[in-house]
Amino acid sequence: MAVEPALSALTPGAFSGTVLRSDFAVFDRPTRSGKRLVFLDAAASAPKPRTVVDTMADAYSHHYANVHRGIYELSEDATGLFEAARGKVAAFIGAPSKREIVFVRNATEAINLVAYSWGRANVHSGDRVVTTQLEHHANIVPWQQLTAEVGATLDYVAITDDGRLELDDLREKLGNGPKLLAVAAVSNALGTINPLAEIVKMAHEAGALVLVDAAQAAPHMPIDVAALDCDFLALSGHKMLGPSGIGALWGRRELLDAMPPFMTGGSMITKVTMEGAEWNEVPHKFEAGTPAIVEAIGLGAAIDYLTNLGMDAVREHERYLFERAWPALGEIPGVRRFGPNDAETHAGVISFVLDGIHPHDVATVFDSEGVAVRAGHHCAQPVMLRYDIPATTRASFYVYNDLDDIDALTSAVRATQTLFAG
């Protein structure tokens, strides 16, 4: 039996999705299907709360000017808001200093920055880099490019049938003395929450630095880089209720200080002559040109919103939804679910396939029911390879979801099966 509709009336976790929905203008929008919008694609990109949209509109309207170089009120204003946003990101992930926060476009750029700057300076012919088979392409292809370019080797940690990293395999790959382990905190394709603290410890003991791809973790659970003891961490603003076009790289100060710049131009220099240039301090050294000023400010507003809910409560809420959705999907014949079985190691992301129905068709039928899910390889083709499937359908939860949405999900599954059974 699927989830009891009566459950929808409960407060899932620490707050009610039904109530939070009113914080997001998108749920007022009429849909083509005429049905209520059931948004289950936060893992691709999250809707924006009104407070983020309003903060940005206000900043663009009344506090906008270029930052850092303007000697007038408006520019001082903009600079103050922009730098305050940097402080919010630092506090949100437990970074010791806001100077360790580099604003980038997205997690992809954060990882590329490390691959280009730290990578080209530190990974040489014969060296090794380790990533895993459950990564997003953003945490694979930059390392393929780097290792191919310098003549190093890229190793992939294998995954188990239920979507966990094979820790024995990790130990073996670390045994070869790699320079870096690049690993996701949470898999976007399987929902797996990796045991990061343990992994970082193993990697450090093996002498490897650890880059954490937190694109799927930062939006959904508390993160503390100091406690984690990792070396780099990448995140995307748009997945954590913030604007598009903004993300952050955190790096240990001494690593960032030692790294050469990535992109070059204005703001990242102290001096340019026709003979050469001298670099500004971090984080400015890595922020060439005019940054995504208002987008950083908007990310700050998203962080305020999340912090106000409390990241423990956000995690609790999604665990609650997962604990209902996972068995409800499992009870439906013809549904194959991926990733770990237990809520401790499975985030609010459920990948599944329906026997005999292509995931794309599933998503299209769902759309006609007002249910927005993703279908495809989720930019994680090595995961698809591992389970020998072309694609999955993926439902992912966030703060505005509630048990009604889980009901809508299971109903959509049944409707799709009925249509295709035809």
Binding site: S33, P359, H360, D361, T364, S368, Q381, P390, A391, G422
Partner: protein, 135 residues
């Protein structure tokens, strides 16, 4: 919805025409849909004039839209000259499918067309403009 998955489409999906591979064949090409990673191949056997299609088969997994589209497209190919195939307008295939296809599914609907063009032009071709908006 009911519109998109009409019986006609689902019937072609369940029982696709011309599915499989032809060996030997004269032309062969495989391509994929980057949105979903689905791959499709097509084999063509030419007639004695070497300028027209005698037989055709497609292979590969895919969604109902791409499978039905390949089934319908290949049904009409036998006897067509290679020049006619090269001049084919992708809009005609969309018309033949006869169902409203949103931008996100256009590549599914046009994958067979793209693979066919790759086969008769001897190399990968760009996505038709119709499919561009979906990236």
């Amino acid at each position: 919805m009911d519109n998109l998955y009409r019986d006609f489409i689902l019937e072609h999906y369940r029982n696709p025409h011309n599915k499989g591979s032809l060996d030997p064949h004269d032309l062969h090409f495989a391509d994929s849909n980057p949105t979903c990673g689905d791959e499709m191949s097509m084999s063509l056997v030419l007639d004695s004039s070497r300028a027209a299609i005698a037989d055709v088969a497609f292979d590969g997994q895919g969604c109902a839209i791409s499978q039905a589209s390949a089934s319908i497209l290949t049904d009409g190919l036998r006897g067509q000259s290679l020049d006619e195939v090269r001049d084919m307008d992708p809009k005609d295939l969309l018309d033949e499918l006869g169902v409203p296809i949103g931008p996100a599914r256009l590549k599914c609907a046009l994958l067979a067309y793209k693979v066919l063009q790759g086969a008769v032009r001897g190399g990968e071709v760009a996505w038709p403009a119709e499919a561009e908006a979906a990236g």
